[in-house]
Amino acid sequence: MEFRSKSSSVVAVKAYGGGAGKSKVSMYLVAPEADVAIEDFEQYALDRLHVLIAIEENRSRGKRAEDVEAAVMDLWRKHMRTVQSDDLLQKDVISHFVLRLVHCRTEELRRWFLEMETALFRIRFRMESPELQKAFIEEHKLPYKIISAAEFDGMKEKLAQVMRASGQGAGLVGETAFYKVPFEEVLDLVATRKVYIHQGHAYVPREQLVTIVANHFRSMLSQALVLTNRNWTAMFAAQEEDRLTPILEALSKRYLAPDYSKSASGSAVTLQELDGLAMRSFPLCMRHLYLKLQEDRHLRHGGRQQLGLFLKGIGLKLDDALAFWRGAFAPRMPAEKFDKEYAYNVRHNYGKEGKRTDYTPYSCMYIIMSSPGVGDHHGCPYRHFSPENLHAALSGMRLSPKSIDEVMEKTRGRHYQLACAATFEGAHSCQCDGINHPNQYFEQSRKFLKEQAEKATEMETDS
């Protein structure tokens, strides 16, 4: 695989080799040649990650295999949807390869990815029709052959005997199709004498074939992961340090932020509260935007999006949001102009216009990756501010010099989200492990302050 930056926002993915498969399930031998927008690069991977994590959760809850399968296929259809149907395979393959990059670097990551992807493959392959399964095997030149009727007749008795011996009931034999595979592919069946072997071939029912193909998939992926790691480290890690590496690193933490599309506490935030909340519980990026908005009575598009969606996430209702923005712009802009030119966008963010997508507030990753230009105030201060400006902003938050130093140090090390966490710690004097989403900062802050308030009232009533 190769990456070229066409522009900072597009990744060109080039594959070696070619050939597309007819079946829906892929062995991911070859990466597609495609231009991938960087948002899709991350989003596709996130969607797939949802499915993989669901597999892990379902398995750990001890659900029956059929239930796990049903749940996973459901999630697969939900998350891996695309606008056009022929993009489906593209998204499948691209998301797999992005996650491959994410999970190639350490043994633990590789092992997890291998387990989950093999389970996913197994589920999807099993759902395929026998014809497609056969086509898949032929296409990949796997050494598994379905046995002819004549062959079957010759060994029917022995096959039935094996079934009975391993407690599987001979009734299955008449119905199941049998495949002839090299015995090396079913060693656990050989070891426990659960399969009929003759002249070096094992004769397995179609059910078993799924396991065999899945094992094959696993060993191929295992080798590929090692290669990917080698290639990435040797060729791309350096040049992608600022662009793709942060995305990959974030994905590897497997944090799937709650959407924050609905406020977690359920309670709405009123206009009157906003000011106080901004000063105490907003992360620096949002606080900065809020203050700039007060100062300039205006924000450019990027800032309006970043702050606007954030506000939606904390529970600001549409009507209040319209009032907020109208009011914020008011000194410089008559209400009619606002309604004509800006109200539409606010309504659009809330899913009330056009496509009616209920947009989710941006995650830290997304914000870090953005590129604010002249006159913009969005982005991540730890990333995009000059050290002097950042220092000033932190002082504005009334952080102690010690806290500020810690934050600056993390920033120098380019650990932007840890810097934000350190800011949180400085502002709240409580621990924070890492911030992955501005709304997370907000919610943690609210929670902490609420607990403080409760403790204070308790102490008052006691004394």
Binding site: R164, A165, E184, T192
Partner: protein
């Protein structure tokens, strides 16, 4: 080995060495000495054939062959005073011959084919993808009579006799069938270990390339007997039917059990013996029934040889009756398998880097040559009549200066398989 005549031997420098008539026990030891061994290696050891076997056609004579193959095969020697040297290798047959002749090892082991010359292994290591590792190795099995000590009443420990030897024949027949019919292997070499067991070398290319996991799986496929002195029932058959491989093996086991093992080991003759058998019957009423009848029969006029046979008939009848539960009926097969089914040393077969004694070595404790066995004719193989070092040297002497060719021919005649060309060339 009964050589109680005087043996004269001529050594190269015409010094006569006399071996005097000595008591049995001492003769065994005297049948093996460094001097005799030197002559054996000098005149009789089949270097060319051994080399031809292990190079599998890569003998450097045609294009496309890998001349490095022999140099990457590990050998180990056990020298006098139990000095052990590993990681030996030879670039060609003359080097192998010269080294063996000069070092005169008491035992030669053959190991795996590695990715680099064993002698250079330390230089190679260091680096995650450069590890000294085995690349190919024959699939091997080792069957040792001491693993059957709990069912042998004729001998124990290192001794063997013609009464217990049939256990080896059972093992040879069953393993040979499984390896050929079930796994499709063709080039099997069976060798007498020189004292109390047999080895099997599976030399097909596919076998040589098996992973450790595959070797372990094949061995488990062949394993039925599990347990030690603490467990009573060591063969446990579950399920309403036997796997085809086991039902096929059962036919072989049953025949040998009734014709050889039962009478030879006098399994039901005395109370001490038959109690052990009855332990395997999971039905107290049957056990009690048998005990009553057999204790009464003690004074019967049945000839000694017939006792076990007739008692076995009675037991079989009781177990095959329609009145008993399936698990009791099953115990008939379990008994037979317990007393006959092959017992393989899994550790020997599992690892590619395990070293195994080379054919045509001389066993230091017995002086016997580790000769190949023909599995089709194993019933006629007599381990007590295997050529010994002393006998060979005798023959050599009698032949005069012909160089030992006839003698050597006799050695190799034991193994038509060993001399066949190996069609895996360049595979």
């Amino acid at each position: 080995m009964g050589a109680d005549t005087e043996d004269h031997m001529e050594v190269e420098d015409h010094k006569e060495v006399k071996v005097e008539a000595v008591p049995e026990s001492r003769l065994v030891y005297d049948g093996f000495s460094p001097d005799y061994l030197r002559i054996y290696y000098g005149r009789l050891f089949p270097y060319a054939e051994m080399y031809k076997w292990l190079s599998y056609g890569h003998d450097g004579k045609h294009p496309g062959c890998d001349a490095s193959i022999m140099g990457r095969r590990e050998f180990s020697f056990t020298l006098e005073h139990d000095i052990y040297i590993r990681y030996l290798s030879f670039h060609d047959v003359s080097e192998m011959e010269a080294t063996i002749k000069s070092k005169c090892p008491h035992k030669i082991d053959i190991g795996a084919l590695y990715n680099v010359e064993p002698a250079k292994r330390t230089a190679y290591a260091g680096g995650s993808d450069r590890v000294f590792a085995p690349v190919e190795r024959e699939l091997v099995f080792d069957i040792d009579m001491t693993d059957y000590d709990d069912i042998r009443t004729c001998c124990s420990g290192a001794d063997i006799c013609l009464k217990c030897w049939p256990l080896m024949n059972i093992a040879i027949k069953i393993l040979d069938t499984v390896l050929r019919e079930d796994f499709g292997f063709e080039h099997l070499l069976w060798v007498y270990s020189g004292r109390r067991g047999v080895h099997c070398w599976v030399c097909d290319a596919r076998a040589r390339r098996l992973s450790n996991e595959a070797r372990s799986a094949i061995t488990r496929y062949l394993t039925l007997y599990k347990g030690n002195e603490n467990t009573t029932k060591k063969v446990s058959l579950t399920g309403p039917a036997l796997h085809p491989a086991l039902s096929r093996a059962y036919e072989i086991c049953r025949t040998y059990f009734e014709e050889h093992i039962l009478p030879n080991q006098e399994l039901l003759n005395s109370e001490g013996h038959f109690e052990k058998v009855l332990e395997l019957v999971p039905d107290e009423s049957v056990r009690a029934q048998m005990r009553d009848r057999w204790q009464d029969n003690r004074r019967a006029s049945v000839a000694k040889d017939g006792i076990s046979a007739s008692r076995w008939k009675q037991l079989k009848q009781a177990l095959e009756s329609k009145k008993v539960t399936p698990s009791v009926r099953r115990s008939l097969e379990e008994i037979i398998f317990s007393y006959t089914y092959p017992r393989i040393d899994i550790e020997v077969s599992k690892h590619m880097n395990h070293l195994l004694k080379a054919p045509f070595c001389i066993h230091p404790k017995t002086g016997r040559v580790c000769v190949p066995i023909d599995p089709q004719d194993c019933d006629n193989f007599d381990p007590t009549n295997v050529p010994t070092l002393a006998q060979l040297l005798n023959e050599l002497n009698a032949e005069g200066v012909k160089g030992g060719s006839e003698c050597r021919g006799n050695l190799l005649l034991h193994s038509p398989a060993f001399c066949l060309p190996w069609p895996d060339c360049l595979a």
